[in-house]
């Protein structure tokens, strides 16, 4: 299996691991009980998907690599998640908006991966696709409720949009391993993903009475291991236990 294939798996895993971690930060702090449970459920979904990708990558990498060593022992520059998922949660509006923008992207990527010529990757995508379908549904409805809600909720969504929109472009700028992924038939075509994503975002924003932001400069670098300062703090919290007490178990 090529190096590019492993890189592809790791970037898929890193995305869902970091997003899962961010969503889990709401545990015990949700605005209302049912939403606390909803978002932590989704965090678990994300982490479950990450595990599937990490396990497959570890298997291919050999050399005593495990899902845990990949998640807990790599440093910031080795993570290839996009910058969007490492942004701080902010308020509920920012959290649901970011989740909507990212999970819609994931939806169209997984939809293609279900037909990957690598059967194991296709199987992982098949399983994740059902979870992501619910994530898109849940988050899009929140965006609509907040956007087409009260004056305050609309204001908060607009501020959230300001904060996260410039991180969405990176999703569709293919890294080398993503170009290879698409060419060799085991990965998604990001151009096609973008077309679908644009359409979905536009439709939801229209119902949410939100403006489509103008084309603007986009942040990038996550896929090349160049991260915002946020990822360092996330890993410090997430990896502390494993690094301080190596191989500890429950």
């Amino acid at each position: 299996m090529s190096k590019a294939f492993v890189s592809y798996l790791l970037s898929l895993a890193d995305n869902t691991l970091i997003l899962g971690h961010r969503n889990s930060e709401w545990c015990g702090h949700g605005p209302i009980l049912e939403q606390d449970i909803a978002i932590t459920n989704m965090a678990l979904d994300c982490i479950g998907q990450a595990r599937n990708f990490y396990q497959y990558a570890a298997q291919l990498m050999g050399n005593h690599t495990t899902e845990d060593s990949l998640a807990y022992l790599r440093d910031v520059t080795e993570f290839t998640n996009c910058l969007l998922v490492e942004l701080p949660n902010g308020d509920w509006a920012k959290t649901v908006l970011r989740h909507f923008l990212f999970s819609t992207f994931q939806y169209y990527v997984y939809q293609q991966l279900k037909n990957s010529n690598d059967t194991q990757l296709a199987a992982i995508a098949e399983k994740g696709f059902k979870e992501i379908t619910y994530h898109v549904r849940w988050s899009s409805e929140w965006v609509i409720r907040l956007g087409d809600g009260t004056e305050e909720s609309k204001d908060r969504v607009l501020q959230a949009l300001d904060a996260v929109w410039s991180y969405t472009g990176e999703l569709f700028q293919p890294a080398d391993f993503e170009l290879q992924a698409q060419q060799e038939g085991w990965g998604a075509d990001l151009l096609l993903v973008k077309r679908n994503w644009d359409e979905k975002i536009k439709a939801v924003f229209e119902e949410a009475t939100l403006p489509m932001p103008p084309t603007a400069w986009m942040h990038a670098g996550g896929k090349q291991g160049k991260h915002t300062e946020h990822l360092g703090f996330i890993l410090a919290e997430m990896q502390f236990l494993q690094r301080a007490y190596p191989n500890s178990e429950w």
């Binding site: 049912e34 449970i37 909803a38 459920n41 849940w138 409805e141 409720r145």
Partner: protein, 105 residues
């Protein structure tokens, strides 16, 4: 549709209405009452029910009903409502003699 016309309209104080949740299990035929939750509208109520009450595969079908639409009998009237049925054996189908052929009905 204005807010007040939608099901589950928020009360004047901004609180979300309460919904009663009924779940049908995979092997079941009827939806059973499992609890209640707050939600802004029916769509959210169904999703909240999915998140809260089907996490452990408790069911595959969800009904949500706004609590205000459930009307219940008054427990203090139980005597008048139910006791009279207690001693009317003739209402039960237990006096028929089933023919041999139907013994295993």
């Amino acid at each position: 549709m204005s807010d007040s016309e939608k099901a589950g309209a928020t009360q004047a104080n901004g609180a979300w209405p309460l919904w009663e949740i009924f779940i049908r299990s995979r092997q079941g035929l009827d939806h059973k009452h499992v609890g209640s939750l707050h939600a802004a509208d029916a769509q959210m109520a169904i999703e909240n029910a999915r998140d809260v009450y089907t996490r452990r595969m408790e069911g595959i079908s969800i009904w949500v009903v706004e609590s205000k639409y459930i009307h219940a009998s008054n427990p203090t009237e139980a005597g008048a409502l139910y006791d009279p049925a207690d001693d009317k054996a003739y209402r039960h189908p237990t006096f028929y003699q089933l023919p041999e052929e139907l013994k295993h009905m």
